[in-house]
């Protein structure tokens, strides 16, 4: 028995050693996620249920009071709806434009490389800078309206960011423009990973460009769709900088997404209610991302 156990011991410890070895590689990521996500998430969740203000040096639990207050003030519902509207607009702009650009720039050649770089530049730009630039571009007397004035009688001076009906769409478009280059690259990678034989077989069978796009490329782009739709939609839930640089949440509260509401509550020393709104963003992200990823991943399997 003793000789048998002495033979088996090294075999048992090898997997354990391997596992420990892998843990060392994972440790930096675990620490980063723990420090920058888990701890703040738990802290934020706990503080959401507290009466924490700048007016007092003590923090006390107050149950659901913060949420009830945000609901009764109309902030919770309004800002959540605005956030969803902004996220959907941004997601649609990024994915429709990104897919179109990816198709146009799919082939790898010098000209396309230049254009890929040009369309990627906004991604590298500061969101605040992008916001300020677009504020000037969309000014009632800015270049967009000057261009449109060529086609209408008189001066076209519509205030894209100043009208409550167009402001949300306009800031959604600006944020979409800002991140579109990243989405384009993912779609280009997805398109180029489609087996050439499949496309060539379709051509031989007489399928036109639109038919090939609809029946071959779109289904096989499913992993790219999953990544892009989830990242653009969920990423937009936490947008603030572009909105601040363009409308500051206005006019009135037309573009007051949840993060603007968080900022306003925080700025008045109401840290507890601010935390509760932040917690709502986290819940919104989880409630959206989990079912969306589940649905899109299933679709990938089907494809």
């Amino acid at each position: 028995m003793s000789s048998l156990s002495s033979v088996q011991a090294p075999n048992q410890t090898r997997p354990a050693r391997k596992a420990r070895f892998r843990v060392w590689f994972a440790l930096p990521s675990m620490l980063l996620v723990g420090f920058f996500f888990v701890v703040p998430f738990i802290a934020n969740a706990v503080l959401s249920f507290t009466r924490w203000t700048g007016f007092s040096n003590t923090i006390t639990f107050n149950g659901l009071t913060n949420f009830r207050q945000m609901f009764s003030l109309g902030i919770l519902v309004h800002s959540t709806l605005v956030t969803i509207g902004f996220a959907v607009t941004t997601m649609a702009v990024q994915n429709l434009t990104g897919l179109a650009l990816a198709k146009a720039l799919q082939q790898s050649n010098r000209v396309n490389s230049v254009f890929r770089t040009v369309f990627f530049l906004p991604v590298l730009m500061s969101p605040l800078a992008a916001g300020y630039i677009w504020s000037a571009v969309l000014d009632p007397h800015g270049p967009v309206n000057s261009f449109l004035s060529l086609f209408v009688r008189g001066d076209f001076t519509y205030s894209w960011l100043g009208n409550q009906h167009s402001a949300l769409l306009a800031v959604g478009f600006v944020d979409g423009w800002k991140w579109c280059g990243l989405v384009t690259l993912v779609y280009i990678a997805g398109l180029n990973s489609i087996p050439r034989q499949v496309v060539e077989a379709a051509i031989i069978d007489g399928a036109g460009a639109w038919r090939r796009f609809r029946s071959i490329e779109v289904p096989l782009l499913a992993p790219a769709f999953t990544f892009n739709i989830v990242v653009t939609l969920v990423g937009s839930f936490s947008a603030l900088d572009v909105i601040f640089a363009t409308t500051k949440g206005g006019p009135g509260d037309a573009t007051s997404v949840l993060n603007v509401a968080v900022y306003r509550q925080y700025g008045q020393g109401l840290f507890g209610t601010s935390s509760s709104l932040s917690f709502m963003i986290a819940l919104l992200v989880i409630a959206t991302a989990v079912p969306l990823i589940t649905y899109l991943r299933r679709r990938e399997v089907t494809a």
């Binding site: 701890v39 738990i42 802290a43 969740a45 706990v46 503080l47 009466r51 203000t53 700048g54 007016f55 007092s56 040096n57 003590t58 923090i59 207050q69 009764s72 003030l73 109309g74 504020s135 000014d139 009632p140 007397h141 001076t157 205030s159 960011l161 100043g162 009208n163 409550q164 409308t247 500051k248 949440g249 206005g250 006019p251 009135g252 509260d253 037309a254 007051s256 900022y263 306003r264 925080y266 700025g267 008045q268 020393g269 109401l270 840290f271 209610t273």
Partner: protein, 441 residues
């Protein structure tokens, strides 16, 4: 649930609890520290030397403030280490650091009671009531509930209209004193092809100016209206009250075409330029922007004075209002370090005595202490400001004591752009006021 699972849950719960307790104890330990420094400071506080003081200050501090710090260093042998915080988000930046328990030795901050409450200054600041400058104060900036917790050296802001003299001369109309006057002269002025009023709503705070700060000057003598709102005896959504009336007056001006069409997106810089260029007759802004008008004149003070004027305007009386600026206003947080607290008070003592007249001359501002005199070389815009601040009729700005004021600008803007009626905006503001009152206990 297995024992392993239970253990994991307990570990997570303990971690969360420990985190929360740490957060709570961060606040309370500060309170304990503060008790060591309780009691009002006096002029006899021992002057320290060779002490390094940390000051949180606005990055927008002018050379005058920076010169003040250097002059004190030369005088005292102490060192002031400046921590620059961005001017446009200064209040939030201070609150963020403050909430973590971090404290400077000297804090540059708004001396308005409502802003002071947001840092719970009654418990977190050294009471300066015993210092010598208190008996020379001209206004009540820096006071909270009977205690003097800070000093506003100046400049003190007033809220009025910057107007283009040439536009008014061309239109042949008198300078308006109240909002009825604005409506009366509107058709004549706009007939000359200029806007009567330019509001930089894109910057949000100018909406406060026209709908609140200027209009409300008539109603806040001795800060009575603001304190009544804070006490709950006055409601901002009273249909017959001044807030609804002020918002209605603004709404009427918009509907009459007296306000710039791009009110929602124009910035305060646009407003200043519009008045200077003569494309608008006037804009209602804080006096803090006088220097920006002089900047547009490339240093030709006389030319700017010939073109632009500054005057009060209010609901009916044509009077101004004032508030202390965050710039040039100083507080001494309780840190538990008696040597540094004494040195910080020494800075206040010096800045309000030996260094004060030089500071006033340097800032070209109106003194807030009766120990200094008005600089002799002021431009006309500064002279107009001084006249408003020295006028006994001038009242404290309406926002000084109102809880939940931070939402007013957005709501005033919603009226300016036609998103809400005056009553709707006022009703919504009342809910924010109630929220803030509840938060303040």
């Amino acid at each position: 649930m297995s024992s392993n699972s239970l253990r994991r849950v307990a570990v997570v719960a303990t971690a969360a609890g420990a985190l929360f307790l740490a957060a709570c104890s961060g606040g309370s330990s500060t309170t304990n520290d503060q008790s060591s420094a309780a009691g009002a400071a006096t002029s006899e506080a021992p002057a320290a030397a060779g002490v390094t003081l940390t000051m949180w200050h606005q990055s927008a501090d002018s050379d005058a403030q920076l010169n003040l710090y250097k002059a004190y260093e030369a005088y005292s042998g102490n060192t002031i280490e400046l921590l620059d915080l961005p001017a446009d988000t200064y209040t939030t930046a201070v609150q963020t650091k403050w909430a973590t328990g971090d404290r400077p030795d000297i804090l540059e901050y708004s001396p308005a009671p409502q802003d002071m409450r947001q840092l719970n200054m009654a418990e977190n600041m050294v009471d300066l009531s015993g210092l010598g400058f208190v008996s020379h104060l001209i206004n009540h900036s820096g006071e909270l509930d009977g205690q003097v917790l800070g000093v506003a050296l100046g400049p003190i802001s007033s809220y009025g209209m910057f107007y283009n003299k040439t536009v008014f001369a061309n239109a042949g109309v008198d300078l308006p004193k109240n909002y009825d006057d604005l409506l009366d002269i509107c058709p004549t002025v706009t007939a000359t092809g200029v806007d009567l009023i330019n509001v930089g709503g894109g910057s949000e705070f100018p909406a406060n100016m026209i709908a609140g700060f200027a209009y409300m000057a008539d109603y806040n003598a001795d800060d009575a209206w603001g304190q009544a709102v804070a006490a709950g005896t006055e409601k901002v959504d009273d249909p017959d009250g001044p807030i609804v009336a002020g918002l209605t007056a603004v709404d009427n001006l918009v509907k009459a075409g007296c306000v710039n069409a791009d009110v929602a997106t124009a910035t305060f810089q646009d407003s200043i330029k519009a008045v200077y260029d003569g494309t608008a007759a006037l804009t209602i802004l804080p006096s803090d922007f006088i220097s920006q008008f002089y900047d547009l004149g490339d240093g030709d003070t006389a030319a700017v004075d010939a073109l632009v004027g500054f005057a009060p305007i209010s609901a009916e009386k044509g009077i101004g209002s004032y508030s202390g600026s965050p710039i040039g206003s100083y507080f001494v947080p309780t840190t538990g370090d008696s040597a540094k607290e004494a040195a910080a008070q020494d800075f206040i003592e010096w800045a309000t005595t030996t260094g004060y007249q030089d500071y006033i001359n340097d800032t070209k501002s109106t003194p807030t202490l009766d120990t200094a005199t008005l600089p002799s070389d002021l431009g006309e815009l500064y002279q107009s400001l001084a006249a408003i601040l020295q006028d006994p009729a001038t009242t404290p700005a309406f926002n000084q004591s109102v809880p939940g004021f931070g939402n007013f600008g957005q709501l005033a803007l919603s009226v300016l752009v036609g998103q809400a009626t005056p009553q709707e905006a006022a009703t919504k503001w009342q809910t924010f006021v109630d929220q803030a009152r509840e938060a303040q206990g």
